[in-house]
Symmetry: C2
Subunit: 276 residues, 2 copies
């Protein structure tokens, strides 16, 4: 237990470039319902997946600083593009207050390596994540011979963020992203963007029943739970905690889409300006 760590009464802070990270928040709510949460969707800068590594490091730093300033006992980076650019800026800022950081990417790599039978693993991710190679490095650390097929999906997060217009054009776009994964005969596909679980049914249809889809949410929630227990940071709430939502773009749009994604009324969504 940190003697100088954060106050256990503070919320868990989660951030993403938009609503996608709500898939990770959802798993945290299932595992740790008594905790308070604050969620930041940096939708003014959406999509992160088209940004440079330098830009993304700056997003990670800025979001983390903002959330620590508001008060947080744990930082959850629920955006693969951001995590792929490196979580060190968040770790450095958070360490000063004894706050730990949990992030996507490593958990999915561990799960994929554990469950693939053929060793042929696919990664579907944003251009930034694919170019940065974070999944290749994470999968390379798994002590197992793996053949990895990466596919950059430039439009998929934006399609989901726009609210699922399941037109023929969208279906053809997503089908084209799945084609190289099918050709490579992968048996496991990492959904390397927190938006993608929202179109899991469509992806499963294109990839086939036998392909296992790996997402980060549950593993990230388990990681958060381990840290809170180890550090004695669990909430003393006796019932469901409080959830607050903050965005940097259009609050009404965020609220409408987020309510649908999370299957929960978001209540008031606060809009903040985060200076570049």
């Amino acid at each position: 237990m940190h003697t100088d760590g954060p106050d256990p009464a503070l919320p868990i802070a989660v951030f993403d470039s938009g609503v996608g990270g709500l898939t990770v928040l959802h798993e945290c709510l299932v595992s740790l319902p008594e905790e308070d949460y604050v969620y930041l969707g940096d939708d003014a800068r959406f999509p992160y997946g088209a940004r440079s590594a330098e830009d993304l490091s700056e997003c990670v730093r800025r979001n983390t600083a903002f959330l620590l300033d508001r008060g947080a006992k744990l930082i959850v980076i629920a955006c693969n593009s951001a995590a792929g650019a490196g979580i060190e800026p968040a770790r450095e800022l958070a360490a000063a207050g004894g706050v730990e950081v949990v992030a996507v990417i490593e958990p999915e790599a561990e799960i994929a390596a554990a469950i693939t039978e053929s060793g042929r693993v696919g990664v579907l991710a944003t251009p930034a994540t694919v170019a940065g190679g974070a999944y290749l490095r994470a999968l390379g650390r798994q002590h197992r011979e793996l053949t990895v097929t990466q596919v950059a999906a430039p439009d998929l997060a934006a399609i989901i963020q726009r609210g699922f217009p399941f037109s023929e054009a969208v279906v053809e776009t997503v089908r084209s992203y799945c084609a190289p994964l099918k050709r490579a005969r992968v048996d496991t596909v990492i959904l390397g963007c927190t938006h993608y679980p929202l179109v899991r049914p469509m992806l499963q249809r294109f990839l086939g029943r036998e392909v296992r889809l790996v997402t980060a949410g549950h593993a990230v929630a388990a990681g958060a739970q381990r840290i809170l227990e180890a550090e004695g940071l669990e909430s003393s709430n006796e019932k469901e905690g409080e959830y607050r939502f903050i965005c940097t773009g259009d609050a009404a749009a965020f609220r409408e889409l987020g309510t649908r994604f999370l299957q929960m009324p978001l209540g008031e969504v606060e809009r903040v300006e985060l200076a570049d």
Copy 2:
């Protein structure tokens, strides 16, 4: 192989009282993508869950007759309220043409009995399904001592059919349906209506991580696949089959909601009048 069975080139026909059965159709599309499908949503008579057993038998008979008349090689009853009232009217009509019938309820009972550790199983279903006792009978056939807690959820299918308004009132309603299941400390809950998988995240949150939710879709798809293989009725399509959607109510509303549920453009939705 039936020498006088249906033509393998005919579609698989699926029906429900609305869009809920699309969760079952989705699993069929994943397992058997080359098949052609016709889906009937009897939304003019929605909700089935408030109807008498006599009414429901008539719905089953009428829908099956309509679909056989259009041409079908297999009938899938993707509505628990209808299946709970008895699938004999469908079996009798279909048998004349050598067509088999697959239905929900029995598959979920088999899965639930196989996976519960404590033997305490919950059933969340419509008033018609709960009152008819079909799940109690199906669970009673599983050669295992089970304690079953049934909860009738009069409004849940309608909430979903209206398109998920995740208001505080909806959340409180759903929470109240989950409360008796939590009190009974069930470790497994059958989602006894094909609409319910669409609010799985919300249900999982209220019931907790440790409770397993059982749905029919995958098992029904597997049942359909077994029959087609055993009877030599597989499609000879070499790529994805064609899907047609028919409803009895508002075609535009069905199309909009169904596209979102299925994550696929439904295309033209045909409206038909089915005489009482």
